[in-house]
């Protein structure tokens, strides 16, 4: 569902790819003010939820 994206420009973890079945992925910046990122942080805080490594 959530996967790290490594920036081709900087070579660092720059954003998160979120995939939902049947929909295009969305790309979420690592900004606490972004509501998609806030939602990710809530998901990550649940035991057992771990973001996938980048390809």
């Amino acid at each position: 569902m959530y996967k790290k994206v490594i920036s081709p420009t900087s070579g660092t973890f720059s954003c998160i790819e979120k995939t939902v079945s049947g929909q295009n992925p969305i790309y979420i910046p690592l900004d606490p003010a972004n509501t998609d990122y806030a939602e990710y942080l809530l998901w990550e805080a649940i035991d057992g939820n771990t973001i996938a490594d980048a390809d």
């Binding site: 994206v5 081709p8 420009t9 720059s14 295009n24 969305i26 790309y27 910046p29 003010a33 972004n34």
Partner: protein, 377 residues
């Protein structure tokens, strides 16, 4: 009507000022006239997802429990002086209301935009919310102000009839404990919420009209509340939403479409969908035979670093890279995001791009493809 001059409210009932546009920038609500709908003008089957947006700055909130479904749309209807409104139409009724069900429409304010109301500190100001509503039949709903920073709520019931009526609701200032101001930042501090449906979790307690209190969910909906999901004939129309400081509901402050669009673009921007070979702006640069970078320059600075999304298959986007013509994409992703510029990566699995040649991102003979930046609250 008498002219009133006092030290609290200033001059009231002076129609040449309060009834006109001389006192500009009174309305704290964005897209209150429901004229801006960048995403789409109608979405059906809503009710299964926690948050849905159709018109800019207005969200439909449900808790995904209800079986009821509605269509939310921008429609060309309104009282005199308004071209558009937000319309909800119930398409699937739900008369077996579980305790935790809720459905409401919501508008959000950033804390930094509300410092002037002194919320939570000495001298907290009254707020007046006004709007025009109608429905298919008489109904009673609840308008709430929800202080997200401090977990405080206040609500008032209002009536809907089959004719357009202006509702004017003045809420007292809330000094709270005297030291709980809204955060001075770009996060949400206050919501206007119109409760349209809810179970006992939201109505089981004793509703106290127009009194600020710490959040207690079971007192948030007024007594004798209508459910918009009680029948498939049910409709709800709203426009002309205004929130202003003070105890007087002044005339709705109309703003130009361009002004309102720019305000909304702080939260959402989109490109594309206009013509089959529409240009997506910016100049792309190919760094490998299969990868290009494309800058998206934001129309206005966004509230937060935005989320990137695209509509349509990757193949509806075309990178015109060299004399060989069309190069439909196989992937789009985000590289970096800031409030002013977003860099996206374009992928072409055929690996036939010419490196270091300025390129154009256009539609691939399709109006389906759209690029979106989202910084909603």
């Amino acid at each position: 009507m008498s002219l009133i001059l006092d030290g609290t409210n200033g001059i009231t009932n002076l129609t040449s000022i309060n009834g006109g546009q001389l006192g500009g920038r009174r309305n704290l609500v964005m897209n209150g006239a429901m004229n801006v709908a960048q995403r789409t003008t109608s979405t059906a089957g809503l009710g299964a997802t926690a948050l849905e947006r159709v018109l800019d700055r207005w969200g439909l909130i449900t808790n995904t429990v209800t079986a009821g479904r509605v269509t939310m749309a921008q429609v060309a209807d309104g009282p005199s002086g308004f071209a558009n409104c937000l319309k909800l139409t119930t398409t699937t009724a739900d008369t077996s209301i579980a305790a935790g069900e809720v459905m409401l429409i919501q508008h959000a304010f950033e804390g930094q935009d509300l410092q002037q109301i002194y919320k939570g500190v000495s001298g907290a100001k009254e707020l007046t919310v006004s709007f025009y509503v109608k429905g298919n039949a008489n109904a009673t709903y609840t308008c709430e102000l929800f202080d997200r920073d401090n977990g405080r709520t206040i609500g008032q019931a209002f009536a809907v009839t089959t004719a357009w009526n202006r509702i004017e609701l003045t809420f007292p200032g809330d000094e709270d404990d005297g030291s709980s101001p809204f955060d001075d930042d770009n996060n949400v501090s206050l919501h206007i919420q119109i409760f349209l449906h809810g179970g006992s979790t939201f109505s089981g307690g004793t509703f106290v009209n127009n009194t600020w209190a710490d959040q207690a969910n079971n007192t948030r909906m007024a007594e004798s509340h209508t459910s918009i999901l009680d029948a498939t004939s049910r409709t709800f129309f709203i426009t002309g939403v205004q929130m202003e400081t003070g105890a007087t509901a002044t005339a709705f402050e109309h703003r130009s479409y361009g002004e309102e669009l720019a305000l909304c673009q702080r939260y959402f921007q989109q490109w594309g969908g206009d013509t089959a070979y529409g240009f997506f702006g910016g100049v792309s640069s190919c760094t490998t035979t299969s990868t290009a970078f494309h800058p998206i320059i934001c129309e206005v600075e966004m509230r937060a670093n935005p989320t990137f999304a695209f509509v349509g298959a990757a193949s509806v986007f075309d990178l015109r890279n060299d004399a060989n013509g069309s190069h439909p994409l196989t992937g789009l992703a985000m590289d970096q995001s800031t409030r002013k510029v977003v860099s996206i990566t374009l992928t072409r699995s055929n690996a036939d791009l010419t490196v270091n040649v300025p390129s154009q991102l256009i539609g691939n003979n399709s109006t389906v493809g759209r690029l979106e930046l989202r910084a909603d609250i």
